[in-house]
């Protein structure tokens, strides 16, 4: 994926306001936002509309699709459609929450590191290096086994896993602006550092932030679903897409729908996040005159 960094001359060809509108004019971004919103809506409304109780067996295990159960049944004879409808809600709120938390803290750290430089930069970024030296999934495995699969813990761990990468990218995007003339001017005439950071620099890194959010949302969905899949996320018998893939693997040759259906929804969600990121990156590339 393209991770462009902002450049101080970015504004040369672009108008500031309506950046969001310009993003939404990109077909890719629109498709991405559409996919994310549709998956989220399905996941949020689904639990209210399930035709059967997602926790109760209604038929024999791995029954093929029929009129009553259009997606068949799962390893314990539960209705796959009902579990599918009820199984996205965790992902639908936890992934964006983790992405917002991770991107927010990562961006703050990256911007402060770039702006302050020197020892602050060194300490912050080396700390991020330590976190990066620890695959997110290991982190999650350790802490989930200590504390248990609490939603707040899963969100926190996912956010911490997303943070260091985001901090690096945003630091890179901020760096050219910290040396740019309008920031030098602000520092020289004595604008407050917070005012420069929030008022002058932040509006210039909104585009890379948009890209970051897309990417990190995609990674958050991936990590949370993977955790459920290996049994360290949402626990059985609660319906959950990642868990469904794991539960129904043994019946793959008889009833592949029980695995394929949740997979499709997970992929729609992550692809949506990636499309937002790519579309946004492309919009930035165009305004910077870079051809991708």
């Amino acid at each position: 994926m393209d991770i462009p960094s902002g450049s101080p001359t970015a504004g040369r060809a672009s108008r500031a306001p309506g950046m969001a509108r310009r993003f939404l004019r990109s077909g890719q971004v629109r498709l991405g936002v559409g996919l994310v919103l549709a998956t989220t809506a399905f996941a949020l409304l689904g639990p209210l509309l399930t035709p059967f109780d997602p926790l109760r067996s209604v038929s024999m295990a791995y029954a093929p699709p029929d009129a009553a159960h259009p997606l068949g049944t799962d390893n314990l004879g539960r209705d796959v459609l009902s579990r599918l409808m009820a199984g996205g809600i965790h992902l639908a709120w936890m992934a964006p929450a983790a992405a917002i938390l991770g991107v927010g803290s990562g961006a703050a750290i990256g911007m402060i590191a770039a702006f302050r430089g020197g020892i602050v930069d060194a300490v912050l970024m080396r700390t991020m290096d330590v976190l990066l030296a620890f695959p997110g999934i290991l982190f999650a495995l350790l802490f989930v086994s200590i504390v248990g699969p609490q939603p707040w813990l899963l969100i926190l761990i996912t956010a911490i896993a997303l943070m260091p990468g985001c901090a690096r990218v945003i630091r890179g995007a901020t760096l050219p602006f910290t040396a740019s003339e309008f920031v030098l001017w602000g520092r020289a005439v004595g604008l407050a550092p917070r005012r420069i950071l929030v008022g002058e620099i932040l509006p210039n890194v909104t585009s890379p932030l948009m890209v970051e959010f897309g990417i990190r949302l995609m990674l958050a969905v991936g990590l949370l679903a993977s955790l459920s899949f290996i049994g360290y996320g949402i626990q059985a018998p609660t319906p959950d897409w990642g868990l469904m893939v794991s539960e129904n693997r043994s019946g793959l040759s008889i009833q592949p729908l029980a695995v394929v259906a949740p997979i499709i929804f997970i992929v729609l969600y992550t692809v949506g996040g990636n499309l937002i990121a790519e579309g946004a990156a492309r919009v930035i590339g165009r305004t910077e005159g870079k051809v991708r």
């Binding site: 393209d2 620890f134 695959p135 999934i137 993977s226 290996i230 793959l252 992550t270 991708r292």
Partner: protein, 333 residues
Amino acid sequence: MRTATRTSEVATTDAGRRRRRRGRFLLLRLLQGVLTLLVVSILIFVATQLLPGDVARVILGDAATPERLAALRVQLGLDLPVHQQYLNWLGGVLRGDPGQSLVTGRPVLDMVGVRLVNSLTLAGVAMLVMLPLALLAGVSAARRRGKLLDRLFLGTSMIANATPEFVIGSVLVVLLGTTVWPILPPVALLPTGQSPLMHLPSIALPVLTLVIAGGAYLARLVRVSFIDVMSSEYIQMAKLKGLSERRIVYRHALPNALGAVIPAASLVAAITIGGIVVVEYLFAYPGIGSLLLESIRSRDLPVIQAVVLIIAASYFILNFLADTLAGGRDRRA
């Protein structure tokens, strides 16, 4: 003439200074890495200490008498202060003896050894397949930029890039393992003590999963980097010198494009290590990833500590490799 010689001397010392600076930078990174690993080892140790459950009770079972529990604690050094326990453990690790498994009683090194070789084989085979494939795909797409092949590449690689490893693996199992066209074993069980290289069909699906997950990302990087290089001034210059298309692509563009991609390749290798946990679980492959899951389940602390440390260390080694290959330039700048 005289001035030119003088400036060339200046340039020589510049080159020397650059080499020295590069050496210093790498040394600094090495120190930083060791320090990072130290911090990570503390984190691992503390985290494992926090794991619920009394180790002595895990070993002896619920029926054990208080005296026997206490005796075992002394034997395992659990009665010592935490920092003493950490130092003992660290000393053991540095001597190459990370202790004994609480569950099997075997030395951790023996348990991890075989599994580590298996995992490295899996990751190594995956990288060997992935690198040339990603290079070929990225360069081909870049050279046909905007054409059908490029669009096709962009679409499929975008989806592959967005999809978590366990989903890619599961889809492959549906397609090639069980349902659609079952030609490959859906699980990668190995007879104990045999190299995975003797059972290539068994590891085909896990390798393929890793190749797709990492290769899509890498190929996209190659494509972008190649396009960037091809629109550079020095490629325009090469065209204006009347060089052949072949020479421009292979001699002028490719080395520079690779220069940007090689550090990323080791990053992909690092991502592959993270992915290996899930992939090994998915295919029941006897590597360190599945060992980690098993030992977390059975609260086998020494094994957990060793495996996590190994994974963190390999992350560090790959990062250091990336820094070295990036020519000592700070690639995060």
